[in-house]
């Protein structure tokens, strides 16, 4: 294990992008589950989707540089994410009208 081999690890390749995507995905899951604010939950969902996009585009770059199908799919994902965020806001507003709070701990009508 000399310096060259160790440095080779840090040479950026597909692996690193995938690890980055994984980190972001985990952070997104974390935010989704442990947040007490509904808006923070929505933001975590967006982070999740961004992580996925990174994965797709990384694969497109390293394995499919001629057709770039990964990037096409990333476009689709972005469109769906936008639609979903809009609807998330609409739901949030409906919830807020019902009970004027954005606390997830308060939204327990279906308990039991």
């Amino acid at each position: 294990m000399n310096i060259e081999v160790i440095l080779k690890i840090f040479n950026v390749g597909l692996t690193h992008y995938l690890i980055l995507g994984a980190i972001l995905f985990c952070i997104g899951i974390l935010g989704l589950i442990i947040s007490r604010n509904i808006i923070r939950v929505l933001m975590s969902i967006e982070i999740l989707l961004c992580a996925i996009n990174i994965n797709f585009v990384a694969f497109a770059n390293y394995n499919d540089i001629n057709n770039l199908q990964g990037q096409v799919f990333a476009i689709f994902i972005m469109a769906v994410a936008a639609a979903e965020a809009a609807l998330g806001l609409a739901i949030l507003l409906s919830l807020y009208r019902n009970k004027p709070t954005v606390d997830t701990e308060e939204m327990k009508e279906l308990k039991g």
């Binding site: 994984a22 604010n37 199908q69 469109a79 994410a81 809009a86 609409a90 009208r97 997830t104």
Partner: protein, 196 residues
């Protein structure tokens, strides 16, 4: 061994991770929204590093602008900024979330590095070399837009059209759900002056 490339990657990645963590762990929701903007822009930077210029721009347009606006609306319409900070729930699910995230990360790490082997060797299942200089130069002059456009209108034209339908449905749904005066939607009246 492009040092600048690596440097840029690590810098942007670092910022991205910090921003994402801030989204989750900052107490005030507005701070969280701002760091979300930073996170999106960093993701755009990552896309640029990946030769995906069109995707990077659309990332900024859609996420960093559109979705941020949505989140700001959400924050503003639902309570004052100086409300009590709703941060993390201290419930059993928190521990489970950390466990899940940890396990997932380790699993992905394991898979992606082919059992931690590729960290020691140069060659692996997945290629670690950048594409050839010629292709990169072509991409850098012409851009990816053409290729993406060609794919969208030939191979992926059906998902494209369905996506437009999806967006239409999303718009209508959002409008209906967020409207205050729902009764008027079901039984529309054509009155100039609304009498309550």
């Amino acid at each position: 061994m492009d040092i600048i490339y690596n440097l840029f990657f690590y810098a942007i990645a670092f910022v991205l991770v910090i921003a994402a963590l801030s989204v989750v762990f900052l107490p005030r929701i507005v701070y969280s929204a701002v760091s979300m903007i930073l996170a999106f822009i960093s993701v755009a930077g990552i896309f640029v590093l990946l030769n995906a210029d069109f995707v990077a721009i659309s990332q900024i347009m859609i996420y960093a602008v559109g979705i941020t606006i949505i989140m700001i609306f959400a924050i503003m319409l639902t309570g004052r900024v100086s409300e009590k900070k709703l941060w993390i729930a201290f419930a059993p699910r928190t521990l489970f979330a950390f466990a899940i995230a940890g396990v997932f990360f380790v699993t992905i790490l394991f898979t992606v590095t082919n059992g931690f082997k590729s960290l020691a060797r140069e060659s692996s299942i997945f290629s670690t070399t950048l594409p050839s200089i010629e292709t990169i130069e072509t991409l850098q002059t012409q851009g990816t837009t053409g290729i993406i456009g060609k794919a969208l209108f030939t191979k992926y034209v059906l998902p494209f059209e369905i996506l437009s339908l999806l967006l239409l449905a999303a718009i209508l749904g959002a409008v209906v759900m967020a409207k205050k005066d729902r009764d008027n939607l079901i039984n529309p009246t054509t009155r100039l002056i609304e009498e309550d």
